[in-house]
Structures are given as structure tokens and as C-alpha cells.
């Protein structure tokens, strides 16, 4: 696995997405979203329910074709699902009939990776997310946190330059979630993958992000792009509380402004 990827720059230019429904007005999910995310940057996306955060992530992942605008990865247009982009969904979405190792290796199977290389990569990925002992277990035997770890390892299987996380920790309890955030940062410290993460949690957005992007309620527009002025590496205890609370106030102000 490459230690540091030199690529992974995402650019959104005037992205608009509308869902057409029979006999009703089109639902505008995203309206002219422009955003640049640099190599190895971590960006948190936050916003009210139904603001199109997931839609934005799906558009970046090439799962949705925008009605207007474009998504570029390292100056190349994204026109469909791309191996350079790894996706972690809100639910683990593991194949119940495969073992944990089989799930983590699934993208490699689809890509036609040789069995030997696949097994080496899977072992490496499992150790990175601390699931080596669970390699032979079925998803049903795992806790929610372990399942999401497996999903994260799977998203890293093709060595993506960009990792998209769609509220990956929302179903986890607070303690697991905090530990997960720390682990994600450790992982990022080694891989330096660009990360765009949707979250509902202001503390999580601040703890992880270099920037926090605040989206408005439908139609989703960017209402604020707030830098997080905290040095890395970050730890749960070592954060500058003044900076955290000032950033949180700023995020909250923009969220409230939108709600008003």
C-alpha cells in the first residue's frame, strides 16, 4: 500500500442535482455547489437533514450524474464510479454470505486481482483496521463498530486517492464513535488520503476536519466554509478548547441562520 498518495484533489464546479418525480415538481437537492478539496485534506460536510449531503457524496463518487456542473479528480472529469474513490456508506453494506476477509477482498475480486496479491492485501487491510482476529467471521457475528471497520477496510482495498464517508459512525454508540474517529485520523496519518466526510455531529466535524463545510437545507448550497485551526496530530484530550468552541459557535451560527 502506498504510504502517501500524491494525488486526490477534488474540484466541484457549479454542481446541481435535481430528482424528477412523476406528477410532481422536480426536487432540487443540490444547487450550484462549488468546492475545492486539496490533496490529503480532510473536509467535513455538515448540514440539516435532507440538505443533499449524501447526494453530494454520491455525485462525487460518480453514482449520480449531476444535471449541471462537473466533478473533477486531479483535473479529470468524473463520469462514473472510479477506482480512485473509495466509498463508505452509512450502513456497512457487507455481503452476509461472505466472511469479513471475503468482504474486504470483494473489490479486489471484482477488479480481477490475483489470489495471492489479494490475500496479502486483505491481511494488510484487516490489520490496519484491527480485524485480523475476525477475518473468518461472518458479518452477522460482528458488532456494529466491527462491521463499519470492515466496510472502511473494503473502501481502502483499491488504494483510493479519495475516501468518501457518508455518516459512517452515525449508528455507533458515543464511545465507539470517539475511538473510531481517533483511529480514522491515525489511518489518515499513514495514508494521507483525501477525505470528505458527511456528519451530523459538530464535535466530530471539528475533530476530524481541516475545514467544515456547512450546507443549507434544500436546495443544498454551501453557506459557510470554516477552517479548523487545530494542529495535527490531534488527540481527544489535547485539543485547544477555545478554538474548538469558537469553531463550533461559528458552525452553529451558520446552521441557525439557515434554519431561521
Amino acid at each position: 500500500m502506498t504510504a502517501i498518495s500524491a494525488a486526490g484533489r477534488i474540484e466541484l464546479r457549479g454542481l446541481s442535482v435535481a430528482f424528477r418525480r412523476k406528477g410532481e415538481d422536480a426536487l432540487v437537492a443540490l444547487d450550484g455547489v462549488s468546492l475545492q478539496v486539496g490533496n490529503g485534506e480532510i473536509v467535513s460536510l455538515i448540514g440539516p437533514n435532507g440538505c443533499g449531503k449524501s447526494t453530494l457524496l454520491r455525485a462525487i463518487a460518480g453514482l449520480i450524474h449531476p444535471d449541471q456542473g462537473e466533478v473533477l479528480l486531479d483535473d479529470r472529469l468524473i463520469v462514473g464510479p472510479d477506482a480512485r474513490i473509495g466509498l463508505v456508506f452509512q450502513e456497512p453494506r457487507l455481503l452476509p454470505w461472505r466472511t469479513v476477509a471475503g468482504n474486504v477482498g470483494y473489490p479486489l475480486d471484482l477488479a480481477g486481482t490475483s489470489r495471492r496479491e489479494r490475500d496479502i492485501r486483505v491481511a494488510d487491510l484487516l490489520s490496519r483496521v484491527g480485524l485480523t482476529m475476525a477475518a473468518g467471521a461472518r458479518p452477522a457475528q460482528l458488532s456494529g463498530g466491527m462491521r463499519q471497520r470492515a466496510a472502511l477496510a473494503r473502501a481502502l482495498a483499491l488504494e483510493p486517492e479519495v475516501l468518501l464517508l457518508d455518516e459512517p459512525f452515525s449508528a455507533l454508540d458515543a464511545l465507539t464513535r470517539e475511538r473510531f474517529n481517533v483511529e480514522l485520523l491515525e489511518l489518515w496519518g499513514r495514508l494521507r488520503t483525501t477525505i470528505i466526510m458527511v456528519t451530523h455531529s459538530i464535535p466530530e466535524a471539528i475533530f476530524l476536519g481541516d475545514r467544515v463545510i456547512v450546507l443549507s437545507s434544500r436546495p443544498g448550497r454551501i453557506v459557510a466554509d470554516i477552517p479548523v485551526d487545530l494542529p495535527r496530530p490531534r488527540s481527544v484530550e489535547g485539543l485547544d478548547e477555545a478554538v474548538v468552541s469558537a469553531t463550533a459557535r461559528s458552525i452553529r451560527a451558520h446552521l441557525d441562520e439557515d434554519a431561521a
Partner: protein, 247 residues
């Protein structure tokens, strides 16, 4: 496991005892309901003197071919029905109509078309097997989680990869439900087909035993053979299911 084996044997013994009790208490003559031991004795001699085997082989061949052909067509049709709402709307009425028409009523027509040989029975067995397997495949294919399909799309899985790694594994439990029903129906189809006209087969032997031979123990021994074939094939399907379906 051991206690369930004991229960299985006990249950079989209870069945035979009940049968014997009905014969004794009811005082039925052998041409109405022969006693289990005389059926068993006739079963052994019919196999030993080579009377049963050619008929059993013929019926087994009809069942197997009918199940394989009807099952394969059912799986393909079920996939199409599950994937396309249009196909489902256009084709379903004919499938249901064909299934709702009693196979006993269809059998003479099919015998007329396909003759008294192997083909006619295979067609009847395949026809009766087709429906439950098509329906179970359709239900199974539709049961694939939309999230998993999106995952497959995000990983750029080809349609064939989606079929092999997502749709078939997700549909297997449902498909095996259909296969279990299908294999028992294949037995019914083959025997009914033989009744409608055949030179050989267990259905034919039942008729001969009841008619020209008037050998009622042989008739029951033949019925037992049919039942045993059904049970054995059903168990074979269950064994394949255990190997393929991980729960």
C-alpha cells in the same frame, strides 16, 4: 444429532405400527390394504426378481430430466421476471394460467402431442416444476438489497459480476425453497404423465399391479418406491442447499 436420529427411527416405527394396527383392527382384506410386512416382502421380491428396476429407472430418468430442464428454464424465467416489471406483467398471466390448469387435465393433451415415450413425461414434469422455481427465483432476485447493488455499482461490477456475486447469493435461499417444492412436484409430474399413457414407469406398474396382475402388495410396493425416490431426491436437494447456502 443422535437424539434426532432416534426420533426419526421411532417415528418411522410408529408409522408402520399404526399401519399394521389399522389393518388388524379394521380387518381389511389384503386387496384393500395389505399389511406392512407383506408389502415389504413384495417390495423385496419385486426388486430381487427385476420387475421393479426397469420401471423405477424409467421414472427416475423422467423426474431427473424434467426437474433439470424445468428448473433451468424456471431459473431463467424467474430472473427475467424479477429484473423486468414489464416482463412480469406480460408473462405472469400465462404462467399462472398454466399452473392453475390441473396437470391431470393437461397430461392427456401433452401425451397426445409428445407420444407415449420419455419426452412426454419429461415435458409434463418440467412444466409442473417450472412454476414454483420461476416464482422463487423471481422473489429471490427481487430480494437483493438495493444498498448492495449500489455498492456493486460503486465498485464498477459488470452485470455478470453483479449476477454472480450479489444476485445469485442473495436469491439462493429463496431459490432452494422453490427447488425443494419442485423436486417433489417432478415426481408427481412423471407419474401423472405415465398414467396418461406410457410403456414403462412406476405409474405404469401401479396400473398393471392393480389391473391385469391384481397384485395389490406389488401396487403398494410400487407406491413405496415412488415415495422413496421422492424423499431421496428431496434430501439430495437439501444436501446441495446446505453446501451452497451460508446462513
Amino acid at each position: 444429532m443422535r437424539s434426532s436420529a432416534v426420533l426419526t427411527v421411532a417415528c418411522a416405527a410408529a408409522f408402520v405400527l399404526l399401519w399394521k394396527a389399522v389393518v388388524v383392527v379394521g380387518g381389511y382384506p389384503a386387496f384393500i390394504l395389505p399389511a406392512p410386512e407383506s408389502v415389504f416382502a413384495r417390495f423385496v421380491t419385486a426388486w430381487a426378481d427385476g420387475r421393479m428396476a426397469p420401471h423405477a429407472v424409467a421414472t427416475l430418468l423422467e423426474i431427473t430430466l424434467g426437474f433439470l430442464i424445468g428448473g433451468a428454464l424456471g431459473l431463467v424465467a424467474g430472473y427475467a421476471l424479477g429484473k423486468s416489471a414489464l416482463v412480469a406483467r406480460l408473462i405472469s398471466p400465462y404462467l399462472v394460467a398454466a399452473q392453475a390448469t390441473p396437470i391431470l387435465a393437461l397430461a392427456p393433451v401433452l401425451a397426445l402431442w409428445f407420444g407415449p415415450g420419455l419426452l412426454g413425461k419429461v415435458v409434463i414434469a418440467a412444466l409442473i416444476v417450472f412454476f414454483p422455481i420461476a416464482v422463487s427465483a423471481m422473489v429471490g432476485i427481487r430480494s437483493v438489497d438495493a444498498g448492495l447493488l449500489e455498492l456493486g455499482r460503486s465498485l464498477r461490477a459488470s452485470p455478470l459480476q453483479v449476477l454472480l456475486t450479489l444476485e445469485i447469493p442473495a436469491a439462493l435461499p429463496s431459490i432452494f425453497g422453490g427447488l425443494r417444492i419442485g423436486i417433489t412436484l417432478a415426481v408427481v409430474g412423471a407419474v401423472v404423465g405415465e398414467w396418461a399413457g406410457a410403456e414403462r414407469g412406476l405409474g405404469v406398474l401401479v396400473n398393471i399391479a392393480r389391473g391385469s396382475l391384481f397384485d395389490i402388495p406389488l401396487m403398494f410396493a410400487t407406491l413405496a418406491t415412488i415415495a422413496l425416490i421422492g424423499v431421496a431426491l428431496y434430501l439430495a436437494v437439501v444436501l446441495v442447499e446446505r453446501r451452497l447456502v451460508r446462513r
